[in-house]
Amino acid sequence: MSMPFYVSPEQQMKDRADFARKGIARGRSVVAVQYAGGILFVSENPSQALHKVSEIYDRIAFAAVGRYNEFENLRIAGVRLADMRGYAYDRRDVTGRGLANAYAQTLGTIFSSGGEKPYEVELFVAEIGDTPEEDQIFRLTYDGQVADEHGYAVMGGAAESVASYLKERYSTGASLDDALHLAVSALGHNDTEDRVIPVDDLEVAVLDRTRTQTRKFRRLSPSRLDTMLGDRVPSAGAVTTPAAPEAPGATGPQPGEPDPPVAPPVS
């Protein structure tokens, strides 16, 4: 019979946090940006089928980075919770805050219970109101912490460099076009050089206040993105990437192009 070693609670929590953070840092970033008409979500995601950004309810969207099976489980639970509440009460009684709270409690419990592996995910729960002032973006981390973000929010691999890029350039009340340009170039930015992310590798969705339907969530198709983004050049001062980044059949990292954003080393 083996004797368990004593591990101090501090060390145990730190190990678990490091484990979760490492998993999250491997993925690519997701950006949420508030604009005049709602909230825009952009992520670099070559898969057309496995979404990182999804609809939860009329005015609520969900975005996640990390392990797909874990955040997909959370997403489905969120849809069930929202639909259940909306059916039992009324559609207006489903709130982003309530959902963020349920996620926070769930993630927090799993993180601090010794038995389960902590979830390697980070989430956004965003809700739009009737005016931009009422919009809310909650950012939830693997340990159940909730942060109320304003203006823009970033999570995932290169969160720090993307966030600093956004911090310098973000302004409130931007149009959808401007917000999209900003978010896409922010995702392509890292410390050494800027990339142009091909349209087919972008997953873009909005919570659009101006939609007449009750369900405000809408995905933007690659063809729509193409017209909206137009011809893009990496921002001034950056290294220009080769002219044809969209070589046929090449979806993975290509020679001459840097790898997907790599996380800062985890201590």
């Binding site: 999804s54 939860i56 639970a77 849809v79 639909d83 059916y87 039992a88 409690q105 769930t106």
Partner: protein, 281 residues
């Protein structure tokens, strides 16, 4: 819910049907999931009356009158019995109003829930079958007089055409061609549709035909409400095309109804159908 965490059942993968999930979690919220005392209950609650539907090239029209009755009493003059259940479908209800409205609400959530979880919409036939299953769950209630008989219409995007499905209380599902009507005034409405329907109608002609048919139903069935010109209450008309569904604004329906009433001032029985070999109407 004292525990703010997500219950384990919510995190279990697998079920993408909301009604099945509801049956496991809160069966009391299902229309058919409640135990009822024995006896007839049909006279206790208001009944919705007539619904008509017809297709036209490129779409489908669903319209319903506004009356709910309890025996000989008019329970409500402006009830809504036509509901959009998603972008491309709508349901009109006849039968016990309370349960029918609940059933339609459940059906709407069912479609949306599937769409969100699976990331794709159900096929038109899939939607029709789901509604079958929901009605079947209501069979015990139907046997006590609380029957619900919906009429489902939708635009089938891959097929590029409007489709109509009728149901019986056991959940039997029947696809109709061209036009159909359900509810107490449906016999008269169907007679009118039979004479007025043409397969090459434009959208506005289809709307006029639906309004005419509802008028004929109200003319001969005391439980169906005609256009209420003094209170300005007109039928609800829902049109679905490849651009999605929309309810016609009240002003549009009022204008169509006024035109029809003006024409009926000289011919109270409505437009004349031409006989073969006879004078053309």
């Amino acid at each position: 819910m004292n525990d703010p965490r997500l219950p384990p059942a919510y995190l279990r993968p697998g079920v993408s049907s909301f009604s099945e999930f509801l049956a496991g979690q809160s069966p009391d919220l299902l229309p058919g999931g409640r135990a009822l005392p024995a006896g007839q209950a049909g006279d206790l609650a208001p009944h919705g009356t007539t619904i008509v539907a017809l297709t036209f090239p490129g779409g489908v029209v669903l319209a319903g009158d506004r009356r709910a009755t309890m025996g000989n009493i008019i329970a409500q003059r402006d009830i809504e019995k036509v509901f959009a259940t998603d972008e491309f479908t709508a349901v009109g209800i006849a039968g016990t109003a309370g349960i029918a409205v609940e059933l339609v609400r459940l059906f709407g959530v069912e479609l949306e829930h599937y769409e969100k979880i699976e990331g794709t919409t159900l096929s038109m036939d899939g939607k029709a079958n789901r509604l079958s299953a929901l009605i079947r769950g209501n069979l015990a209630l139907a046997m006590q007089g609380l029957a619900v008989v919906p009429l489902l219409v939708g635009y089938d995007v891959p097929a590029g055409a409007g489709r109509i499905f009728s149901y019986d209380v056991t959940g039997g599902r029947y696809e109709e061609t061209g036009f159909h009507s359900v509810g107490s005034g449906s016999l008269f409405a169907r007679g009118a549709l039979k004479k007025l329907y043409r397969s090459d109608m434009r959208e506005d002609e289809a709307v006029m035909t639906a309004i005419q048919a509802l008028y004929d139903a109200a003319d001969d069935d005391s439980a169906t409400g005609g256009p209420d010109v003094t209170r300005r209450i007109f039928p609800i008309v829902h049109v679905i095309t490849n651009e999605g569904g929309r309810s016609l604004p009240e002003a549009t329906v009022a204008e169509v109804a006024d035109r029809m009433i003006a024409a009926r001032m000289s011919r109270p029985d409505g437009p004349l159908a031409g006989l073969p070999g006879g004078p053309v109407a």
